[in-house]
């Protein structure tokens, strides 16, 4: 890492950590219903929503009711996104006359946005109408984030409540998260992004003249749409001259703000946050990166505040930050060292005052190496999945770090809400392991961890691993799976493994060379996304209810302190060992082999 790379990373980390306490404290106040200043402005609006929707705000739900409300709300949301895509050709706000999206792609995208994954099998600017982007995708960006936070808050209540039957009200938690946290932050961020050049307009795409006209060979088609062949059975082409550039625009800033804050990640444009109209300047890049980790990091403080011991929150944040920093430094190093196969051709990849150097394939000049590498680990540490550089073109080790961060289960910051509840499950495993070592019933935050909680925690840890590996295995065995591969050799395997790791942990980023907009991948990855969202959230809610029902045990001499550096190390160890044992064999077949090949030639 050179001096500037280090400085940019330190600045990012510093600003992020400074914001954790104020935002975390505010969010705790919101969920406990004591954010007085905000309620004075929006409180009557909040109550009006409850009235209109028939929500009984004072009702306390058991975990089954909470889970049913959560699933039903998501199901209706997914149906709405599906319907909007299938009908967009006859609905308004479609200046580019986009046609209806195919059923399998619509299913994939509906699931993808409802589960907070935002995997994108389609190219935004060539597929979606403005109406679909706003009423479908932007809405799910908000609510899928708000429900993730709601589930986390329910889990925290499991620790704070004693002998209680309820874990809170799903509707109230969802409305408050949206109204008091996500909306105000999005509004500010969206306007800041516009000031940097992110577009926000309902106008159709803009045509501008090209200074140098270009031409390309367009394949001629027969009347039935098949490519026309000449006598030698080669496709017939005609020269097309292009004198104008059509620049895709749209209401992008409003969607991008929430896509980052809600760890959604679905881009308005195909190139996602690499597109200059989604992410035009280094400052917009900084703000977007900050927005990705802002809420997941701050929720650690919210957690500490709500369990009335902020040291607990800082300990979890310390574990997350440590893993994140180490993997980011490795990624920056790998990308900065460049591609030896290009050096052999006489390409200058050394970093200097006038160029970033390094592996610049699939990266933007304004971001260079540091900001592309940092973004790649930020977006995969959080289950965001937006990209400002093409991960498929990263060096093997540089691409392995984002992939492994997803495989760790999206608990290093993770998705808003879902990341921390995943990490709390790992904390339960960690105290259990510690308990085994000394032969004592494990406790966490005053609650005994018993067989039921451990069974549920094991489900949460094992289900995504199982589906990622089995999904990858099936895809490399069947023809429609292999047909999608873009790069030959070990890298092709990495593309598939990355896709299933991403969908199976609700991340949404891709080794985008993989042609995944096919019925096979749309359906397989759609199922992965459903499993990893709901089969985790449901056992987690079950744990919350079981904990809430227990009495609290007083702290004794034998109680393991869960706010000490020792516990932080134990927690990191648990996450890393589970992630390493499960995935190193698969990683050895992909990025590790490719790394050796790259150095060998």
């Amino acid at each position: 890492m050179n001096a500037n790379n280090t400085m940019q990373f330190a600045l990012y980390l510093g600003v992020l950590l400074l914001l954790v306490k104020p935002l975390g404290a505010y969010m705790a106040a919101v969920y406990e219903g004591r954010a007085m200043r905000a309620q004075r402005i929006l409180g009557s609006f909040e109550r009006a929503i409850y009235r209109v929707c028939g929500i009984k705000a004072e009702e306390d739900m058991g975990w089954r009711a909470y889970a049913v409300a959560f699933m039903l709300f998501n199901l209706l949301g997914a149906l709405a996104v599906y319907a909007l895509q299938r009908l967009q050709d006859v609905l308004p706000f479609n200046p580019q006359k986009m046609t209806a999206v195919s059923p399998d792609s619509s299913f994939n995208t509906a699931v993808s946005f409802a589960t907070n994954t935002n995997w994108q099998g389609y190219g935004g600017e060539s597929t979606m109408s403005y109406l679909t982007q706003m009423l479908g995708l932007t809405v799910q960006n908000f609510v899928s984030a708000a429900v993730g936070m709601a589930v986390l808050i329910a889990v925290i209540r499991g620790f704070t409540r004693r002998q209680a039957s309820g874990i809170g009200n799903f509707w109230v938690d969802t409305v408050r998260g949206t109204l008091y946290i996500l909306l105000p932050l999005s509004l500010v961020l969206a306007l800041a992004l516009v000031s940097q050049g992110v577009v926000q307009t309902f106008k159709p795409y803009q045509n501008v003249p090209l200074i140098e006209k270009v031409s390309y060979d367009d394949p001629v088609k027969n009347a039935d749409g098949s490519p026309k062949m000449d006598a030698q059975n080669k496709p017939v082409t005609q020269k097309v001259e292009v004198t104008e550039q059509t620049i895709a625009v749209g209401p992008a800033a409003s969607q991008i703000a929430i896509k980052q804050l809600g760890t959604n990640g679905g881009g308005f444009f195909n190139a996602n946050s690499a597109h200059p109209l989604e992410n035009p300047t280094p400052l917009s890049n900084f703000l977007e990166m900050l927005a990705i980790l802002l809420i997941p990091a701050s929720l650690c403080y919210t957690f500490g505040k709500m369990v009335d011991d902020t040291r607990q929150g800082w300990a979890v944040l310390a574990a997350m930050t440590t893993i994140f920093v180490v993997l980011t430094v490795v990624t920056i190093g790998a990308e900065q060292s460049g591609n030896p196969q290009l050096s052999a051709l006489g390409v200058d990849q050394t970093s200097s005052l006038t160029q970033p150097g390094g592996n610049m394939e699939g990266k933007e000049a304004r971001f260079g190496i540091a900001n592309s590498a940092i973004w790649s680990t930020v977006t995969t540490a959080a289950s965001n999945g937006s990209v400002n550089a093409m991960h498929d073109s990263f060096t093997p080790l540089g691409g392995m770090m984002p992939m492994w961060l997803m495989q760790l289960g999206e608990v290093v910051f993770g998705g808003v809400g879902s990341g921390l509840y995943g990490m709390l499950v790992f904390a339960i495993i960690a105290v259990f392991v510690a308990g085994l070592m000394v032969g004592r019933t494990p406790e966490y935050l005053g609650k005994k961890i018993e067989a039921h909680e451990m069974k549920m925690a094991s489900l949460v840890i094992l289900i995504p691993c199982f589906f990622v590996l089995v999904g990858t295995a099936i895809a490399v065995l069947v023809e429609p799976g292999k047909a999608g591969i873009a790069n030959p050799g070990a890298h092709g395997f990495s593309e598939i493994l990355y896709a299933f790791s991403s969908a199976g942990n609700n991340n949404g980023s891709a080794f985008a060379g993989l042609s995944a907009n096919t019925p096979f991948y749309n359906i397989a990855l759609g199922i992965e996304m459903l499993v990893s969202r709901y089969w985790l959230a449901i056992p987690v809610l079950a744990i919350a209810a079981a904990l809430a029902a227990k009495r609290s045990v007083p702290v004794g001499n034998g109680t393991l302190s869960t706010h000490t550096p020792l516990f932080v190390a134990l927690l990191i160890g648990t996450v890393v060992v589970v992630g390493a044992l499960t995935f190193i064999p698969a990683l050895a077949l992909g990025p590790i082999v490719e790394h050796l090949i790259m150095l060998g030639k």
């Binding site: 600045l11 929500i55 049913v68 039903l72 196969q341 290009l342 006038t354 394939e361 933007e364």
Partner: protein, 194 residues
């Protein structure tokens, strides 16, 4: 189940109205009122500034292959380079032969256009950008091309270098991002000389 149906459906509709309609409309209203140039794609005229007859976007690169113009990053959009209606990277992996072949071809094109230039080729000039629309190149990539432009246009290399300096943006706030040269603005300035 049924008791949850009414809140689920009506909350979805209310949220759609707030976050899907009111919120984007509010952002659009403020953005169009206060920052119309940025909100509509940062269009510039032939002087490189917003205002007159639109000549392109400051943020969207254009394809250049004439030796008289500075060349930008290679672009992987299809069916032609810098198609701003279909952004895309190459997604070629580091050990893909297609990548090394493409880089070799680009080096050859640069060398053919400027025979005898001994300098090694800066990496960003021969590798495709992530969006396929990158408006910038590194200052090193611009410096590499100064010699060619000066010869093709019969200009003093120092004069061309001055234009490059004028089109160079430094790190934002001195720290963020990388120094970079806006290729479209630079070429507009070059064309404006004559």
């Amino acid at each position: 189940m049924l008791t949850h149906f009414r809140p689920a459906l009506s909350l979805l509709l209310v949220m759609t109205a707030i976050t899907g309609a009111a919120y984007p409309a509010l952002v659009t209203g403020i953005a169009q009122g206060l920052m119309p140039n940025q909100a509509n794609g940062s269009m510039i005229d032939s002087s490189g500034k917003p205002g007159g007859k639109v000549q392109g976007s400051r943020l969207i690169g254009q394809p250049f292959s004439d030796p008289k113009h500075f060349w930008g990053r290679p672009s992987a959009t299809s069916p032609y380079a810098y198609n701003a209606g279909a952004s895309s990277g190459s997604n070629q992996g580091p050990t893909n032969k297609a990548l090394t072949d493409a880089v070799s071809d680009r080096i050859k094109a640069l060398r053919d256009a400027d025979p005898g230039n001994p300098a090694p080729v800066p990496v960003d000039l021969v590798t495709a950008s992530a969006s396929g629309l990158d408006p910038h190149i590194s200052p090193a990539a611009a410096a590499y091309q100064v010699r060619r432009i000066a010869r093709e246009r019969k200009l003093d290399p120092a004069r061309v270098a001055e234009l490059v300096t004028a089109a160079t943006e430094q790190r934002q706030w001195g720290v963020m991002g990388e120094p970079r040269v806006n290729v479209l603005q630079l070429n507009l300035a070059l064309d404006g000389l004559h």
